[in-house]
Amino acid sequence: MSEFLLELRNIVKEFSGVKALNGVTLTVKPGEVVSLCGENGSGKSTLMKVVSGVWPHGSYSGEIIFDGRHLEAKGIRDSEAVGIAIIHQELALVKEMTVLENIFLGNEITHWGRLNTEAMFKRTQELLKRVQLDINPDTPLKELGVGQQQLVEIAKALNKNARLLILDEPTSSLTEREIELLLEIVRQLRREGISCVYISHKLNEVLALSDRVTVIRDGELIGTCDADSLTQNDIIQMMVGRELDQLFPREAHPIGDVILEVNRAYACKPGASRPQVDDISFNLRKGEILGIAGLVGSGRTELMQCLFGCYEGESRVDITLHGRKLNITNSREALGAGIAMVPEDRKRHGIVPIMSVGRNMTLSKLDFYSRWVSGVNEQAEYVDVLDYIRRLTVKTASTELAIKNLSGGNQQKVILAKLLMTEPEVLILDEPTRGIDVGAKYEIYKLMYELVNQGMSIIMVSSELPEVLGISDRVLVMHEGRLKGEFDHRGLTQEMIMDCAIAEEIRSHD
């Protein structure tokens, strides 16, 4: 019998040729809390999906040993059966059902098919006591706060006799008091012998809670250390410490006068307690690449949605382009005013999957080809499509191929082409290289410099710090909906950005 409850050996997971995980090893002892740290996109979530069976055995290489036995899960149910429970950032609870119904969902105690409500009620009371939640099991879930819902989720995991809890960013939407309570409960569970993998950006929590800390970067294991021997700066160093190599083809380009001014941007979801974008002002110069950094959830995407008129919720912003005030209420008006955006979520907001490459590309410019009587001039359209396919080196067998058949990088190029066809002055790129292989990334960077050299201005939101540093002329850092810092790219380091992006926690807890 090994000393470990969970042992991951040499996990490699590829997505169409890109290695999301490259030989990661992770161990958890019984009754131990191990924190997993890494930048956005470093492979943390992928690793946990491998452990929890979201990616079935065979879709990755390497071994998972749980409790001395090889775990070859075909799905989430298999890993749950041995005692692994994952609690996601987005809670997997049914808001319309009660606490009791949620805890026993898919796991109901029945007697000849009839629900045994009494037994479930009693068990729920016990479980709620363990997570220190003093509520009636018949309370509808939607009446609980996010923190309490999180605890219900933990109770649900305990009900399945979980021996290993995976908590993925559990505190990102909790208040200070709720966080304290959650940490206390995790400590209590540890005393009961339940192990925990804790994923968080909040390094103070990581250090306060864990026995050991494992850091991964770009899908590779950087190291595992005892938490006692680490400082927050050590962890940041391990998370970002990498040389900027030839990945980024930085080119000198002329930067002109301010063309875009954004003042007092504000965005809030209905019913939310704090706005997602809170009073942000900045400007953009002609031919400039402005990078926007910050953690996931810091409001970067929402800020861009305000500019492009597609924020779903209440938003206000004063936009001045070339000294002319703009009133943008939808994407059509934004495009008309010369502001284009490549959205973050390519599948949801970018492509029309079953339409052809060519038709996706001309979707924003159809009126240009359209005449009242003769309809769309398909030949003129086809010539332009071929031109952009050549310019952006889109690899496709045919313009008629459905876009869903292309690789992520080529889909991204088609979306870029679609927006470039509208000849914008300001191009917003939200995570332009997410899930794209290195070669295509390089081509997109090259294109960005080509565009700014032609006088276009670019705003780039990115979670990848090397990209932000390697491409931008100027960097804004956001934190919890507010602007936390503005830097020139010269002399800027990843540590400086990271420090700014998570500064709040460090300052308030040191």
Partner: protein, 401 residues
């Protein structure tokens, strides 16, 4: 006819020469897109059904009289399916079509029978009412965000109720000779033939124009045999059908109207920005919105267009029945939806074609007609039609993966 329109933006792969050593038929098949293949499969299915019933009825199924009746019977469901296919492509549904057709037909009959309104005015008012009812549905769906299933279910009840109220539950008859002629008349031989030749010539001309334009833009057109072969086959099929119709009484007016709608609406779906946007909205509403498409306006227009087309069907129905009846068009929406779905339209949106919907309507009508000729009991006819609907969607789901 449709196939050539669909190929207007030629795939890049067409620049390459077709596979060597293969026969012309094989290389021609290789040039077809999946959508075009689907059309071929549908034509084949229709042919199989036709051959089966021809054998089973000792040839009376393809007698010119029966073919003429069959196509005439298809006209109303076919026209409804043309409007419905746009709605379904935009990922919505319209359940109010049957009741709306009944109501509009009732309005036409009341104007004609009770008030003796002249025919042109009757037609105009009926079409305008259809457009308004459709836009009304569309406004609720697009701007008020009520699911189209509910909006049009409400319409299905309310429009039927309005019809019964207006007609006092009784049949409004008989319609004037002028109104009756829309649904019951046949065009004399000369007209039918000139229409057919005009369409054929127009098709060949558009192929020529396309090839000329491709050369002008330095694009390599597909081989001559492919482009003109496709057009030729289509023209021959069209003329053959006309010949059969002429053998009986000539081209029925409703069929002429349906043919004109097929032509116009195919062009709308394939060659206009509006048509393109409908496919984009059905394929991914969010992406269409982010691309600057006015999603709400286009959705409302789709329902308006559908209402207009329903009004055309309503005029034919009233004219054919010679009366406005409180039960007219009952359940017609289901026939129209079934025709679209059998014709390869995806209820998830983004996929479908006018030609497919018409083929679907033809397949359904052929089954109806053939089984009636064989004296198959009505209950069996319903079971078979249900089975065919299920089978068609199942095959579609299987082959799409």
């Amino acid at each position: 006819m449709i196939k050539t329109l669909m190929g207007a933006v030629a795939p890049l792969s067409r620049d390459r020469s077709p596979g060597q050593g293969t026969g012309p038929v094989v290389s021609m098949l290789k040039r077809l897109t999946t959508a075009q293949m689907q059309m071929l499969v549908m034509v084949a299915a229709l042919l199989i059904i036709a051959v089966f019933f021809t054998l089973a009825t000792d040839g009376s199924f393809i007698s010119s009289r029966n073919v003429s009746n069959l196509i005439r019977q298809t006209a109303i469901v076919g026209i409804l399916a043309i409007g419905m296919v746009f709605v379904i492509i935009s990922a919505e549904i319209d359940l109010s079509v049957g009741s709306m057709m009944g109501l509009l037909g009732g309005i036409a009959a009341i104007m004609d029978v009770w008030y003796g309104v002249p025919l042109p005015l009757t037609i105009l008012i009926t079409l305008a009412s259809g457009l308004l009812l459709g836009l009304f549905n569309g406004w609720w769906v697009a701007y008020q965000k009520v699911p189209s299933f509910i909006v049009t279910l409400a319409g299905m009840l309310a429009f039927r109720g309005a019809l019964v109220g207006l007609t006092d539950g009784s049949t409004v008859a008989p319609t004037s000779g002028a109104l009756s002629s829309i649904g019951q008349s046949y065009l004399p031989g000369g007209w039918g033939w000139s229409f057919g030749i005009l369409v054929g010539a127009g098709l060949l001309l558009s192929v020529m124009k396309k090839r000329g334009s491709q050369r002008l833009h330095d694009l390599k057109p597909a081989p001559v045999a492919f482009d003109y072969g496709k057009a030729g086959v289509t023209v021959l099929a069209l003329l053959g059908l006309l010949w059969v119709l002429e053998e009986y009484r000539g081209l029925p007016t409703p069929v002429l109207i349906m043919a004109a709608l097929i032509l116009v609406m195919t062009l709308v779906s394939r060659r206009t920005a509006f048509g393109r946007r409908i496919y984009a909205i059905g394929g991914n509403l969010e992406a269409a919105r982010m691309s600057g498409v006015n999603v709400e306006m286009n959705k409302m227009l789709v329902f308006g267009l559908n209402g207009l087309i329903v009004a055309i069907a309503a005029l034919i129905l009233t004219s054919r029945l010679g009366a406005g009846s409180p039960s007219a068009g009952n359940m017609a929406e289901l026939d129209a939806i079934a025709a679209c779905v059998i014709g390869g339209t995806s209820l998830a949106g983004g996929i479908g074609s006018v030609f497919g919907a018409i083929m679907g309507a033809l397949i359904m009508a052929s089954l109806d007609n053939g089984m009636s000729m064989l004296d198959v009991p009505t209950f069996w006819q319903m079971i078979v039609k249900g089975g065919i609907l299920l089978l068609a969607v199942w095959m579609d789901a299987k082959t799409r993966k």
